[in-house]
């Protein structure tokens, strides 16, 4: 096998780039959504369960081990922050992809927090889960005007996950929180997003898996928001 490939590889080697056999690079693939581009929920659930598994095992590189020994800080990161990190780059990609797919008249970047959060609540949620999020609220605590909440009654990612009682502070929707954080960071509204389960487990509760994504913007975002709001 390797000897038969060697002459071909030599010819293309001047650019160091290898083309797939069909000659089609990623630049040839269409960006607009084809009708058959849906993914089955079962495949996603299978992949996601493996991701949660990976995030919860304390798999670290040698550098992480060294860092933890040297600094004696609270390393390794918890599994929810690992899931958060895994979701972050997806948010960045979604931001531009969804903006590209909108019709040219409505292609606008979000200039303030409410527009951005509406974009997340409707466009991003529709793209990921097929329906808009169930609620968007501003925190009623006057000491924390920079906290906003996106509410999802039944996050798709948690459908096949059952969390054991000794890890009850873990909510696997931290992955979706990472995606939301990626969208906010990409749009120049840096934020910290965490997922909290507020559904009660008794019978009679309509949405036991109800999750709140708490979006806490950094202070410079609020400063800019106030400045723009005044002018």
């Amino acid at each position: 096998m390797s000897t038969s490939q060697a002459p071909g590889a030599g010819a293309k080697e001047q650019s160091g780039l290898r083309y797939p056999t069909s000659g089609k690079t990623i630049y040839h693939r269409p960006l607009n959504r084809a009708k058959t581009a849906e993914l089955s929920g079962a495949s996603f659930a299978y992949l996601f369960s493996e991701m949660v598994n990976y995030a919860s095992k304390k798999i670290e590189s040698i550098q992480d081990l060294e860092k933890s020994i040297a600094s004696n800080a609270s390393f390794p990161p918890s599994s929810s922050s690992r899931l958060n990190i895994q979701g972050h780059p997806i948010g960045l990609k979604l931001l531009d992809l969804l903006l590209y797919r909108e019709p040219p008249r409505t292609q606008t970047r979000s200039l303030n927090i409410i527009t951005l959060l509406h974009f997340i609540k409707i466009n991003v949620w529709q793209h990921l889960f097929g329906q808009a999020a169930d609620g968007l609220e501003r925190s009623s605590d006057p000491a924390k005007p920079d906290e906003y909440m996106i509410i999802d009654n039944e996050p798709l990612v948690n459908r096949f996950i059952s969390v054991p009682r000794d890890m009850s502070q873990l909510n696997c929707a931290a992955y979706v929180a990472g995606i939301v954080e990626g969208v906010c960071d990409g749009a120049a509204f840096p934020a910290r997003v965490t997922a909290h389960s507020v559904g009660k487990q008794d019978d009679g509760e309509m949405w036991p898996g109800r999750t709140v994504f708490l979006v806490k913007f950094l202070p410079d975002v609020m400063e800019r928001e106030n400045f723009l709001g005044k002018s």
Binding site: S15, L17, T25, I26, Y27, R29, L31, P89, L92, K93, L95, D96, L97, L98, L99, Y100, Q107, T108, R109, S110, L111, G186, A187, A188, R224, L228
Partner: protein, 170 residues
């Protein structure tokens, strides 16, 4: 008529650079920046980044048109959703005769061509179409799972796409 196209990341770092010239009205597609001023292009574009940041919060459009002018150079900008800036610096040809005695600008080229008039509506439209095509290739680039934010773009296919868009519209 020469163009210098840069993609600037979120940390004001250049991710992709491309110089080219106009292929319309008899141009041959080669950039004609004067040798000693060629490196100034980077500084001019960098200084107009401040203006981009000022303008970007005023309007929500992605294409910001011509935002800055430095002597003979005009800078236009297109802002993506992820705050990555596509900056195009265009330098209309001077009609002065060069030192070798050959007139660089096409004498038959009328002043209504895109080359000569960087702020006319036709130019704005042409630059906007160019930017939209580059934006399409850009979204495909960032969709790659191996592309991290603010990474340099080295794909020769991307360069070909930008060059083709430049030939088509500018």
């Amino acid at each position: 008529m020469s163009y210098y196209f840069v993609i600037v990341g979120t940390q004001d770092n250049p991710l992709f650079e491309h110089e080219f010239g106009t292929s319309k009205a008899g141009g041959d597609g080669q950039a004609r920046f004067p040798e000693q001023a060629r490196h100034m292009n980077q500084f001019i574009v960098h200084s107009s980044l401040d203006i981009v940041e000022e303008v970007q919060w005023g309007a929500g459009q992605m294409y910001l048109k011509c935002i800055d002018r430095f002597f003979n150079n005009y800078v236009s900008c297109f802002l993506t959703g992820g705050n990555v800036k596509f900056m195009l610096l265009h330098q209309p040809p001077s009609s002065a005769v060069s030192s070798t005695g050959v007139v660089l600008a096409n004498p038959r080229g009328s002043t209504s061509t895109i080359a000569a008039n960087p702020t006319s509506p036709q130019t704005e439209e042409a630059v906007r179409s160019f930017m939209l095509e580059v934006y399409e290739s850009w979204v495909k680039t960032i969709m790659s799972p191996f592309y991290n934010v603010n990474m340099e773009v080295r794909s020769p296919v991307f360069r070909q796409r930008v060059a083709a868009a430049g030939r088509k519209y500018l």
